[in-house]
């Protein structure tokens, strides 16, 4: 198979995603499509760390929120254009990821998960308390990146971001980087013993993931035109990112898209019934997924196909096979 044929399906899919506003004119439907792509991008970003590298982060709201506040604060205090604010969001998120990685990657298993959760919570509380800078719980207005009535430019922007994020994982699956991350996920000690610099690759994965998350955070803030800590920095944001990727399929390229489609559409359908409790569906689907198909929708499909086809080395989901090295106390 030539490289071009290998790339044909992804390119066709990308073109189809970009063509949506030509067909969908209804503003409500377009907004739902924007939400699907916001969560696809976030799920894909989370997937790099949580899926491929197997580091279950529940603190990604930190990057999302930092992205949103970067745009909001630079516009509010310095009059920056939202585009410059967006660049700032990405620029700030990478060192933040390095700092968070330096702390949390020293923890293993459940302690890593709780550590990421704790750090993001601390950040939320600080933003909430630092009212002189952030206006705290009162929130802050955010300028639009595309002034005007049409939502189509927003759609094109987030579609490109989603394609970039999903494309990054597509490229990762075909690169040494992706194999290193998978090796770290499956057995970090063995990976290190054959010369994989686990600390560096995990940090690199987190920085890439954080950059996409912060970009989406800045976009989302501008799309919403208003943010406050509980919208962009709270635990449910982190949980939703993880759940999108997990239900679609951890460590699969298109898993986040499938997960985002399922979850966003389900919450829209049940919006009238559940109102503010729309995360009920996330909780229930997460439980069902873990109990009956821990690899997620695409992980399960891949698993079934692989049982039929001749075995071929794929960076895939081994989440159904249980015992990972998460023994008693693996700290430091």
């Amino acid at each position: 198979m030539t490289r071009w044929r290998e790339a044909a399906i992804p390119l066709a899919l990308a073109a189809a995603v970009l063509a949506v506003p030509l067909v969908v004119k209804n503003p409500y439907h377009l907004n739902v499509a924007i939400l699907v792509l916001v969560w696809t991008t976030l799920g894909a970003a989370w997937n790099i760390v949580g899926g491929y590298a197997g580091q279950l982060s529940l603190g990604h709201a930190a990057f999302f929120g930092i992205g949103a506040y970067s745009l909001a604060l630079t516009a509010h205090y310095w009059g920056w254009s939202p585009w410059a604010g967006m660049a700032m969001a990405v620029a700030v998120s990478v060192p933040l990821a390095a700092a968070i990685g330096a702390i949390t990657f020293r923890l293993r298993g459940p302690y890593f998960v709780l550590g990421t959760l704790a750090l993001a919570e601390v950040l939320r509380l600080v933003v909430l308390a630092w009212r002189d800078l952030t206006y705290g719980a009162a929130g802050i207005m955010v300028p639009e990146i595309f002034p005007g009535l049409s939502r189509a430019p927003y759609y094109y922007f987030i579609a490109l971001a989603a394609i970039a994020a999903v494309g990054t994982t597509w490229w990762m699956e075909r690169s040494g980087f992706g194999y290193y991350l998978t090796a770290i996920r499956e057995d970090q000690e063995t990976a290190e013993s054959i010369g994989v610099n686990a600390a560096w690759y995990k940090n690199l994965a987190l920085m890439i993931s954080a950059a996409f998350t912060a970009l989406t955070g800045a976009f989302y803030a501008s799309h919403l035109m208003f943010i406050e800590p509980d919208i962009v920095l709270s635990e449910p944001v982190s949980v939703q990112m993880a759940v999108v990727a997990i239900i679609g399929g951890r460590g699969t390229v298109l898993g986040p898209l499938v997960g985002a489609l399922l979850l966003v559409l389900a919450s829209e359908i049940f919006r009238a019934q559940f109102q503010q409790a729309h995360l009920l569906i996330y909780g229930l689907l997460l439980m069902l997924t873990i109990l009956f198909m821990p690899g997620g929708v695409l992980g399960e499909i891949q698993h079934r196909l692989r049982l039929r086809a001749a075995p071929r080395p794929v960076i895939g989901t081994t989440f159904s096979s249980s015992h990972e090295s998460s023994g008693q106390r693996e700290v430091g």
Partner: protein, 291 residues
């Protein structure tokens, strides 16, 4: 000077809250420390305990402290059922899948309660809600004092029971080595169900005791959930007594710390302590003896 003047009051408040934190920590220690199940729903269980007590108070006009006698056994039963239906299926799976399953359970419980009771803040009032005891310059809310006394009693009773009953021995044996315990004739599956049920009952009891002194809202458990891991880690894994002491320590650290960093950052203290302990003193402050 002002700091020193306020210190005694804050220490007493911290100690009173610490009684309830001890109960919360002990409950998670049973499930996470002893049974090695990473339970992300502990905070949600506390919240369920609070709302159960709230319903008993407002609908049946039951005193919140009498409600404890209903809430705790009820949550014990629900906990055993949850163990059989859900937790048991991932008990031998990776920690990650345990985390995700219990996280899903937590999200589902929080949103279910939000659906039923809305996200509004609620509160229960009793005839003694505003009563205070004065000791010199220190004032203590009567409900706080009752909650503290009951929480301490339950925690000590639990400890005594674990150390001196046949079931306590079976539970400690199962925690040390489930296989060996099974070979010695312990019904390991039953012990694990009971331990999980007990963990949920303790969370429910803590919730019941918090109801007279706290506001209720569906996400009230979120902070308690993460904090309860702090208590267990402070106490050294696998020690119920350690976690209880960890709870008291955390409550004291919070009430003294908030004098320095302000009320709004009070909750951050527990999370920072959590990270510091994990990074620099992973064996906890109170040794690692299992009990």
């Amino acid at each position: 000077m002002e700091f020193l003047a306020q210190l005694p009051q804050n220490l007493v408040s911290g100690l009173l809250l610490g009684g309830m934190y001890a109960l919360i920590g002990a409950g998670l220690a049973l499930v996470f420390g002893v049974m090695d199940i990473v339970n992300m729903a502990h905070g949600a269980f506390i919240m369920v305990g609070m709302y159960t007590t709230f319903v008993l108070c407002t609908r049946l006009r039951l005193d919140p402290y009498l409600g404890l006698l209903v809430t705790a056994p009820l949550l014990f039963g629900v906990g055993m059922l949850l163990h059989r239906l859900l937790i048991e299926r991932v008990a031998h799976a990776s920690h990650m899948n345990q985390i995700l399953l219990t996280l899903g359970l937590s999200v589902a419980l929080v949103n279910l309660v939000q659906l039923i009771f809305t996200a509004n803040y609620q509160q229960i009032r009793t005839s003694y809600s505003d009563a205070v005891i004065r000791l010199g310059s220190i004032t203590m809310n009567v409900p706080y004092v009752i909650s503290f006394a009951l929480a301490t009693g339950i925690t000590l009773g639990l400890y005594y029971w674990l150390m001196h009953s046949e079931f306590g021995r079976a539970l400690r044996a199962t925690a040390q080595d489930p296989m060996a315990a099974q070979l010695m004739g312990v019904n390991v599956r039953r012990v694990q169900s009971v331990a999980f049920g007990l963990g949920m009952a303790l969370a429910g009891a803590a919730g019941a005791l918090l109801t007279p002194v706290y506001y209720l809202y569906p996400t009230v458990g979120a902070n308690f959930g993460l904090k309860s891991f702090t208590m267990v880690v402070l106490g050294g894994m696998g020690s119920v007594v350690g976690a209880a002491l960890g709870g008291v320590t955390l409550a004291l650290a919070e009430s003294v710390g908030q004098m320095l960093v302000g009320h709004e950052l009070k909750d951050a203290i527990g999370f920072v302590v959590f990270l510091l302990v994990l990074l620099f003193k992973p064996a906890g402050l109170f040794g690692g003896q299992r009990a």
